[in-house]
Amino acid sequence: MRDRRRINRHLAGLVSAAALMLGAASPAFAEEIIVGVASAQTGGLAPFDQPSLAGLKIAVDEINAKGGFGGKYPVRLVVKDTRSDMGATATITQELVDAGAKILITPCDADPSIAAGQVTQPLGIPTLTFCGTAPILTGAVGDVMFGTYPGDNLQATVLANYAYDQGLRKVYLLKSPDSTYTMRLPEYFGEVFTRKGGAVVGEGSFSMNQSDFSAEVTKIKNLADKPDLIMTAGYEPDFPAFVQQLRAAGVSTPVFGADAIGTGTILGLGKLVDGTVYTAAGYATPGSKLAAFETKFKDVTGHAPESAYEANGYDIGLILDTAVTKADSVDPKAIRNALASIEKLEGVTGEITYAGTDRMPLRSVALVKYQDGARVFIGTQVPAAAEVPAP
């Protein structure tokens, strides 16, 4: 069986090589374009990669129904599970490249994405992370690496702007050293917030997956200088635990968070999270593209999207379609250049721009507030590039 697979792979290689030559000779010939997906379908990153892939698949099916990228290059997704393992990600990336992938999608985290990017960078193959948000990601790899989701610094900027505009001046930052996201996002927030004139009155730390916040809460409660808001990038299960325990201790200071808390669990907390503001890649207002996507997603898969990653996955499909259309070629370098020049693409999550950025998209960030057990849409912001703190 293995031999046959290998022969198949060799055949695929030969076919694509032949197709490439043919393609060069006659550009009208419809050729398949392979999108390699090195994603974590199991392990710690699976909660992010699984929904992202589900969204991407829907987009690809739709695009193929119309003839493929740019209407003429049928798309084939080759998906391999990295098991959330770094070494496996690098190897699998190489395999996908060997299998003829012209575009590569990497897991929802900076580490494996950088490891994969180091394989694709020398080959010039455009590489997009599913939803990695660490802004250093693209700089660490080079010009083939693209973020798709709003970066940590971008989200923090939008949040800080909003908080300052609401007249809040003193912030308590709650960080966890356990991940880039939980550590850096509040720090970016602090940076923007102090630059605007706000003050950081205290910092606390927590360990992820350790639901007990009582000591931290007691500390916050007894702060001499009472904060106007608490900013954290903690998510499940830490965020619900924190808010529950904070409110139970009688502290009513509003808590701001980032996109990872836009989930059913947090919504399910009801009145506890009243006043919590968070960022999102997009917001499904009635009649919006996102709302339409969610309906569509439910029709196709039988269940509603569990997060914003499904929509983001779908948008990756749109981004790639746009880039290939623009490049009008399956040459990775051409696609890369086309990607880098995308400006104000209307995705289902909002507006996406790569032109003029370091390939972490400058894109719209939705601000949402939990109120009375429901989500209230505050608005969408695209911050000025200058406001966003450096990675």
């Binding site: 199991t42 710690g44 699976a46 909660p47 699984q50 929904p51 050293p177 910092e203 606390g204 730390s205 360990s207 997956n209 350790q210 639901s211 007990d212 009582s214 000591a215 931290e216 007691t218 500390k219 409660k221 007894n222 499940e236 299960p237 830490d238 619900p240 635990a241 529950q244 325990q245 409110r247 139970a248 201790a249 009688g250 989930t263 059913g264 669990t265 947090i266 919504l267 399910g268 907390l269 009801g270 009145k271 506890l272 569990e306 997060s307």
Partner: protein, 293 residues
Amino acid sequence: MLVQQIVNAISLGGVYALLALGLAIVFSIVGLINFAHGELMTIAGYCLLGALLMGVPLAVAVVVAVASAAIAAVLMEQIAFKPMRGASVTSLLITSFAVSSLLKVLFQNGISARPQPIAMPSWMTGAFQFGHVSIGVGPLLSIAGSALALIALELFLRRTVMGTAMRAAAEDFNVVRLMGIPAGRIIATAFLLSGLLAGLASLLWIAQRASVDPLMGFTPVLKAFIATVVGGLGSLPGAVVGGLLLGVIEVALQSALPPDVAPYRDAIVLSGVILVLLFRPDGVIPAARAQRS
């Protein structure tokens, strides 16, 4: 503030104690450090979720959840650990790792990799005010829950034949069998109890975090493991003491460490564990084991 932190410490330590006790009961009888204990918690969580989704009242759902963890524990023993009886502690430990990782894959692919929300009733997030001190319903519930469970377990171990037999079996399993008490039933009871404790701890844990996910069992079982080691592997009073101690130390460090040092908290706690082991290799309260010549 001090009173409040003490309450915090007891409440956290209580949950650790329940978990540690679950590990210790099984270890004392069959010499297995069951790392799949965390997955029993996850099973309880999913069953709680399932029951609630089917519209079962909370009280009933709680019973269903705890019972399911207990049944799962007994099944786990029957399927995975029974063929391994008498194997070395390390073999058993590693088998339990394998079982744990198998179950995680099952949850991730069979249910969902994403956390599933479990809405806790709002009264659980209230607080009582005692003068300057306000104490949350959550911590109180967890203190009361752990205390009741510990008392119930103590009564079971002291007042019933099976309980007495289990204490005896922890000391000298073979002699208990010589009294005509079936080995299988003692082992099954040990797993049943550990499952009940895991289920209960799971409820208290979930009450704090409001969601279930496939990987949720890992952190608590790690803490429980540390607690049992500090307390004395296989010693039931040791497990309780170890759990409480760990809770107290964690809360104390969390509230006392300056922000610069705070990230090193776990390193400090674990160095403490090594220190305890250096001076008391068998833990704070070593398990009573029959000396066999």
